[in-house]
Symmetry: C2
Subunit: 379 residues, 2 copies
């Protein structure tokens, strides 16, 4: 066969960050973007609606594999691609569990994966009952459409669901987990079954959005291998049992009583894996390309003892993000800057910074200092 062509549905920063990996390897990448000027515009060969079957079929017919920047392509579209004998990685059977949080919770419970207490609730009374049974507070989630803190709220009464019951047949309610910290275990799996795991990381959220990632999760380096074994085993089991291909990110809680519980799944490269671009032998973006093409997976070892990634959230409102480059580069010459070609907007992910090295405190300090140059002075 000729040079393989990977088609990516969605033109966000995840598609964008697949471009360098594709260019370096020498595989072709094409993007179906939602709009002109997308983050992945350099590789956009088509602009259109990913919910429209004709649009997606036109895009997919000339590529060797279809993969994704996000999980929002409707099941009907995905299954029509399969019917047309187009390789879709991950496939609709797996993606369904990333698209519907209720189905995900149900399936993980069946698998015996550790999850918070949860229930499907259809009205304020059922919600109130769950809250009463779980200490007077719970986390309520819409089964679909949530991201970066959207579609998630803390509730203390059955009436706190607002209009969500009108829009969904059932909602997912979960116990409010008393967690010590949040972790993420990122793995990649290829269709033939090979799985490779990166070190488990700690992720720190700000206003429901990933803000900082510490790789590996502090403490894992110095011999706490039980934690890494547990998180890797959980993620590998999920990848296998759900038939995930490509990158799978499993977001986890590490509880104050030493348990690990699965929070969310993402079946694509994930913010908690951005550090791998600079900090691992194989980045999650290269690994995703290898995996969806069913090529042998790369070495996921970390290059340094510690890598710290800090997101650039919002970005400068009054000037281009690149106007801050000179100051950052002069101050932190080893900071790896990544900006996504997106316009600034409060809270929006517009870039990230990774610093790697031997000493966690120093690496953290330098990564945060570099990121601070991109804060909007008007916020």
């Amino acid at each position: 066969m000729g040079v393989p062509i990977v088609g990516v549905i969605g033109g966000g920063q995840l598609a964008r960050m697949m471009i360098p990996a594709a260019v370096e390897l020498g595989v072709e990448i094409r993007v179906l973007a939602e709009a002109e000027g997308s983050s992945a515009r350099l590789a956009a060969t088509q602009v259109g609606d990913y919910r429209d079957l004709d649009t997606v079929m036109a895009f997919a017919k000339d590529v060797d594999v279809v993969t994704f920047d996000h999980e929002h392509v409707p099941q009907a579209v995905l299954r029509a691609l399969l019917d047309a004998e187009i390789s879709v990685q991950p496939g609709p059977d797996a993606l369904e569990f990333a698209q519907d949080k209720l189905r995900m919770r149900q399936r993980l419970s069946e698998l015996g994966a550790p999850v918070p207490d949860w229930a499907a609730v259809s009205n304020p009374e059922e919600l109130q009952q769950f809250i009463s049974e779980h200490g007077g507070a719970a986390v309520l989630k819409t089964p679909r459409g949530g991201y970066d803190g959207h579609g998630v709220r803390i509730v203390r009464a059955g009436t706190d669901a607002g209009d969500w019951f009108e829009n969904f047949e059932a909602l997912l309610v979960e116990e409010l987990v008393d967690f010590r910290r949040e972790l993420a275990q990122v793995v990649a799996r290829r269709p033939n079954g090979e799985i490779v795991a990166w070190p488990v990381v700690e992720s720190v959220q700000r206003d429901g959005v990933c803000h900082e990632v510490f790789a590996p999760a502090p403490g894992v380096n110095s011999g706490n291998d039980r934690l890494a074994e547990v998180t890797t085993s959980i993620a590998e089991t999920i990848a296998e049992e759900l038939g995930v291909t490509g990158v799978l990110a499993v977001e986890l809680f590490e509880t104050t009583d030493q348990r690990v519980l699965v929070n969310e799944l993402a079946m694509r490269p994930h913010n908690s894996g951005h550090w791998t671009i600079d900090g691992s032998r194989t980045s999650q973006f290269e690994q995703h390309l290898r995996a969806v093409l069913d090529l042998p997976l790369g070495d996921a070892s970390p290059i340094d003892r510690h890598s710290v990634m800090v997101n650039i959230l919002g970005g400068p409102q009054e000037e281009a993000i690149t106007d801050r480059f000179a100051a950052v580069m002069a101050r932190v010459p080893d900071a790896k800057l990544h900006t996504y070609g997106k316009s600034a907007r409060p809270g929006r992910k517009v870039g990230h910074i990774t610093v790697s090295g031997e000493d966690l405190d120093e690496v953290t300090y330098r990564a945060r200092m570099a990121a601070s140059y991109f804060e909007d002075s008007t916020e």
Copy 2:
């Protein structure tokens, strides 16, 4: 100002490898390619002849800086860009010394840089005299148009120049240096004068083409810092005195009697710096973008004790280079594969592989093994 736009003249693999660096940083890159389907086609916004002023002006008028994939843009075109107040990095005054080997030798001699014995010769008699004075053999070079072994030959008689005297007013003749090995010192310099150097490397040629690069040059790690000091000082002096901006590669001979002599200059990212993509905190391609945009330069430290780069020369003739990926990736999961989207042709540079690690012998073995999968079985 808005997002900076870098315009690259030439669509070869050096322009191609600037694309990932530009995408990661978030600067815009546009390429003026010689033809459709160039190695850098993903960023090609125009196809045309770089020797044609109108073509180049049309390309350059909307970019913030013009830089290069090669050194062949005519001086008249470069100077017209300057007249139009377009930033050209490196500028024509510097590029002249990369374009004309006679002028380069003359200037380096004036600077007191260590160079082989040389002369400008205009006829077979002058050539014969130089040969006679230098042990019966010498290296003859055309002042312009040489690359990868073209325009260079070993001569033992004044008549060995063939038709070269008909095509050039004068030729460059140099002593045949008795060298222990070839080295390359790559540095980057920005217009404000800041210079950063990568470790000196050893480069091994095959049939006049770069074949393997060992970074750093073996022995430098274990305390042979005199060599690194000498090569860095030579390259920095040349960059400063010639006013080079962007990446400068200085190819050197390390002689059997412990001297270092300047062989060639390249004012652009260079094959001897490809290892930096995977093996240095800042790749030569990112550094080149920073430098030509007059941004502070990145940390050029090596990430590993050793990196070994092996070129893929020729490539498989009967199948796509990517058809060999599965075998290589399965065997050497930490090999970093780079292919350039070029068709196979005997001896052509179509990709490279870098392996990094602690042990030089092991790293070398693994890099060579990975590259061997791409050899053409019919060669």
